[in-house]
């Protein structure tokens, strides 16, 4: 169902490669050593840019000898006023007490610097400009991500500034092996991309692949990490997410420690991790943060929920319209009694309820939370009850759909949850056409697809396909952390040992 679409797949990103028309000016003149000429050129470059501030600094003679240029609103004003402008009177440009100072000699660098919130100082008679790192745009405070809330994990979430996000990850891994590779994506957007990884753990081939794919992206701008993920994922026709998106620094750090690569996209509060595996989407931070038996129980519960939300409505449809022999007599009697009042075929009945539920969920997301709750109650109780009384759906169908909805809320990852919700519908269709055989066929297709999917050369279905017993320590159940001595092989980690066994010899 999914891989069939492979043939539709063009060589990735060819769409963008075709447009050779330059999105930005190609020529790149160097700076002149005359200030007036520079300012003139600057005016040409930035015409109709009212937020560009050009502060001219006059010498004692009253002649302009320097100009500080920055974009209003993108800079830290205090630093400009207190440090640069004040100190310029008695210090040379290189002595100014600003953390980051470097020189720019051509206009491309100058332009980039200005757009990134730096301030640029042109001095008359010098063919280069000084760039001060004075970035200071409006920022959100660091707070918990609402999508990935945790019970006990850190309550920090990423913000919209890439460098801050990198810093948040670095706080977890203050190690010199944590390397950062910087790239830029987008002709207009010039979004800074940082790839974080542990040089002695992560597999270099993946980095290469990741870099090539990101470099190949030729687009005017990307707004969010999700866009980048879609541009570089392996199989665009798969319903499954192939890159892990997260808003949590601790999750990101733990991915790095497992040998994955973290891609931080500037301006987006989400980072992505690669390579991804199906089962990483079923884990949550709290699994490692609560006691292992409870965590294992939750894991198993999650797998049950996965099956329920994928197959339960389909199974119900199949059983009551094809394979009723499988249901015990007593149950048949009660199901048939509730069904006897419903005028629709089961598939229609199920679709009706499922779509209602999905609409309620979608409606609830963007509503303010008090109203969202009301919607939930109104939708869940009132509509369900009324629908049954009106004879549109049967009681048991309401139970089935409600259980399915609850089960789908157990998915810790939003993307995976959405994929599962979506897959439920083809399953239901198959069930309504071919009964149990249809469901099993769908399941085979799903398994076959999961098996053949790869994420950056690493098998997506690992550790189930290829089967790796050793890694199942952290899958269906979570064994105690002191027993997980190795990093997962699935990520291609080259350094496998994670910890020394420190409890093993207590028993012997």
């Amino acid at each position: 169902m999914f891989g069939i679409f492979n043939f539709l797949r063009r060589t990735p990103h060819s769409k963008y490669r075709k447009s050779n028309k330059p999105l930005a000016s190609q020529e790149n003149p160097s700076l002149s050593n005359k200030l007036s000429a520079n300012l003139h050129y600057l005016h040409q470059l930035f015409n109709l840019t009212p937020d560009l501030v050009i502060r001219q600094v006059h010498s004692d003679q009253g002649a302009t000898y320097a100009a500080l240029v920055y974009l209003d609103g993108m800079v830290d004003k205090a630093s400009i006023h207190n440090n640069i402008l004040r100190e310029l009177a008695y210090k040379t440009p290189d002595e100014i007490s600003v953390g980051s100072i470097h020189k720019a000699s051509d206009w491309r660098q100058v332009e980039d610097a200005i757009f990134q919130g730096n301030s640029v100082l042109f001095v008359d008679g010098q063919p280069e400009a000084t760039v001060y790192g004075t970035q200071g745009w409006p920022q959100r405070a660091v707070e918990q991500s609402p999508v990935e809330a945790s019970l006990r994990g850190a309550h920090q979430g990423f913000v919209e500034t890439g460098s801050q996000n990198v810093a948040m990850i670095r706080r977890y891994i203050p190690n010199r092996e944590l390397k950062i590779k910087e790239l830029t994506v987008g002709r207009r957007g010039r979004t800074k991309i940082s790839i974080l990884y542990l040089a002695d753990v992560a597999r270099p081939e993946i980095l290469q692949e990741l870099e090539t794919r990101i470099r190949k992206v030729d687009i005017d701008a990307i707004m969010n990490t999700g866009e980048l993920a879609e541009l570089i994922e392996d199989n665009p026709f798969s319903p499954f997410p192939q890159l892990i998106l997260t808003e949590r620094p601790d999750t990101a750090a733990s991915h790095i420690l497992q040998g994955r690569y973290i891609v931080v996209v500037d301006k987006s509060p989400t980072v992505m991790a690669a390579p991804a595996h199906f089962f990483t989407f079923l884990t949550s931070v709290d699994d490692h943060n609560s006691r292992w038996m409870i965590a294992s129980f939750t894991r198993i519960l999650r797998f049950v929920a996965l099956f329920i939300s994928l197959f339960l409505p389909a199974l119900y449809i199949a059983l009551i319209s094809f394979n009723y022999e499988v249901i015990p007599v007593q149950l048949i009697l009660s199901i048939a009694e509730t069904r006897s009042r419903v005028p629709f075929p089961p598939i229609l009945e199920a679709m009706l309820m499922e779509i209602t539920i999905e609409m309620m969920r979608e409606a609830g997301i963007r509503l303010p939370s008090p109203i969202g709750q009301t919607i939930g109650i109104v939708g869940g109780i009132v509509i369900g009850q009324a629908a049954v009384q009106a004879g549109i759906v049967s009681n048991i169908m309401v139970v089935v759909v409600a259980t399915t909805a609850i089960a789908s809320f157990l998915m810790p990852n939003y993307d995976m949850g959405a994929a599962i919700r979506l897959l439920r519908f083809p399953m239901m269709l198959l069930a309504s056409m071919f009964g149990i055989v249809g469901i099993v066929t769908g399941a085979i297709a799903l398994v076959a697809h999961l098996v053949s999917l790869e994420s950056f050369g690493m098998p997506y279905g690992s550790p189930l396909a290829p089967w790796r017993f050793a890694e199942m320590k952290d899958m269906f159940i979570r064994v105690p952390i002191w027993a997980m001595l190795k990093r997962p092989k699935s990520t291609g980690a080259t350094q496998t040992v994670r910890q020394k066994n420190h409890r093993g010899d207590e028993d012997s």
């Binding site: 071919f434 149990i436 055989v437 053949s452 279905g461 396909a465 290829p466």
Partner: protein, 366 residues
């Protein structure tokens, strides 16, 4: 020619591909056939059949030990020259494709009998094939992963058969060898058919990452198959009366009908539906054999194209032929006999040929 490491399969995957291709629809009627031929001693025939198939598969491995990077088509060309070799590949392709066809038609017939009696043949066939295409259009590595995963998923099936134990009468099996060895030998023929499938070693051996384990692998795979057959056969023999078992076409389903949990009845239907997983690991390796040789014959290696060609052919054939149970039985017998020659006799001949060929070549070079 070095097989790319990318495409290599692990030892376990090697085992499960072989095991998977051995276990197909045959097991449903196996107890009946064995009881027909050898009475309640049929299970002893299984051991003999196992022995023969192990010998044959070891022979295959031994042949390829000498040419470790060859698959069957490559070996044929090496031994018999380009033209004769390519002509010899033709029956091999036909053999594998025909096996795919028989497994799929019998699966289709089972599905139609138990679930969808009115649905047109080609639709059921399409249902069976479509998910398999996702695997067949990819490399052997994916097939290996798939077979491995499905094996583990189907382990539960092994335990399912233990449920009717409570209603079985082991005294049916006594006395052992009541009629002597003769009926048991009769049963061996039926038994070795059900072990067919190990001939896939012809194609997957060079991809095995640790070739030194190849012989151990085929023995384990055959033993797994034996265990499964033995379990099913013994429990069927204990459950049905020795005279009654021959009256059921597929005793296994009647056996499973008896299991009933409080929340689920008619396990046979669920079982048959889930067995489609196991079946897919039976016909997918054969598909691999067929499309691999096809690719070799025509020189391009694009499994997706050959797979879609083969599958389209099968769907279209089922649309026009409307296979019946009896036809299918004949096909199974035919493919079984072909398998007898291809999987048991052919390796022996080939092995001798290779021995002589090598000796001649050596003496020439001396």
């Amino acid at each position: 020619m070095k097989k790319d490491a990318q495409n290599g399969i692990t030892f376990m995957q090697y085992i499960f591909i072989i095991h998977g291709s051995q276990v197909g629809t045959g097991v449903f009627s196996l107890p009946r056939i064995l009881a027909d031929k050898a009475g309640t001693d049929g299970w002893i025939s299984l051991f003999l059949g196992w022995g023969l198939s192990v010998i044959a598969s070891i022979l295959i491995v031994l042949i390829f030990r000498k040419y470790p990077n060859d698959t069957l088509p490559e070996l044929m060309i090496r031994l018999f020259g380009k033209i004769v070799g390519k002509i010899l590949i033709l029956p091999v392709i036909f053999y594998f494709a025909f096996f795919v066809w028989t497994i799929l038609t019998s699966a289709m017939l089972f599905i139609k009998q138990w679930f969808l009696p009115m649905t047109p043949d080609y639709v059921v066939m399409f249902l069976l094939i479509a998910p398999g295409y996702l695997v067949a259009s990819r490399s052997l590595r994916i097939l290996g992963r798939y077979c491995e995963l499905v094996f583990y998923m189907m382990i539960l099936m092994f335990f399912l058969f233990l449920f009717p134990l409570g209603d079985s009468h082991w005294v049916h099996l006594l006395p052992i060898m009541k009629e002597g060895w003769l009926p048991i030998f009769h049963g061996v023929f039926s038994a070795i058919y059900s072990f067919l499938g190990f001939e896939i070693v012809f194609f997957i051996y060079p991809y095995l990452q640790k070739r030194s384990l190849a012989i151990r692998g085929v023995i384990i795979a055959n033993t797994l198959t034996l265990l499964f057959y033995l379990e099913v056969t013994l429990i069927c023999f204990a459950f049905f009366s020795p005279d009654g078992i021959t009256e059921y076409n597929q005793p296994v389903f009647n056996l499973l009908k008896v299991i009933d949990f409080n929340f689920l009845e008619r396990i046979d239907m669920l079982f048959l539906a889930l067995y489609l997983f196991e079946l897919s690991t039976a016909w997918l390796p054969f598909t691999f054999g067929a499309i691999f040789s096809l690719g070799f014959l025509f020189g391009t290696k694009n499994p997706a194209r050959y797979a879609s060609l083969l599958f389209l052919l099968i769907v279209v054939l089922s649309f026009f032929l409307h296979p019946s149970w009896n036809q299918n039985d004949q096909w199974i017998i035919f493919s079984g006999q072909a398998g007898l020659w291809f999987a048991y006799v052919f390796p022996a001949i080939l092995y001798l040929y290779v021995l002589i060929y090598n000796r001649l070549r050596r003496s020439e070079s001396l």
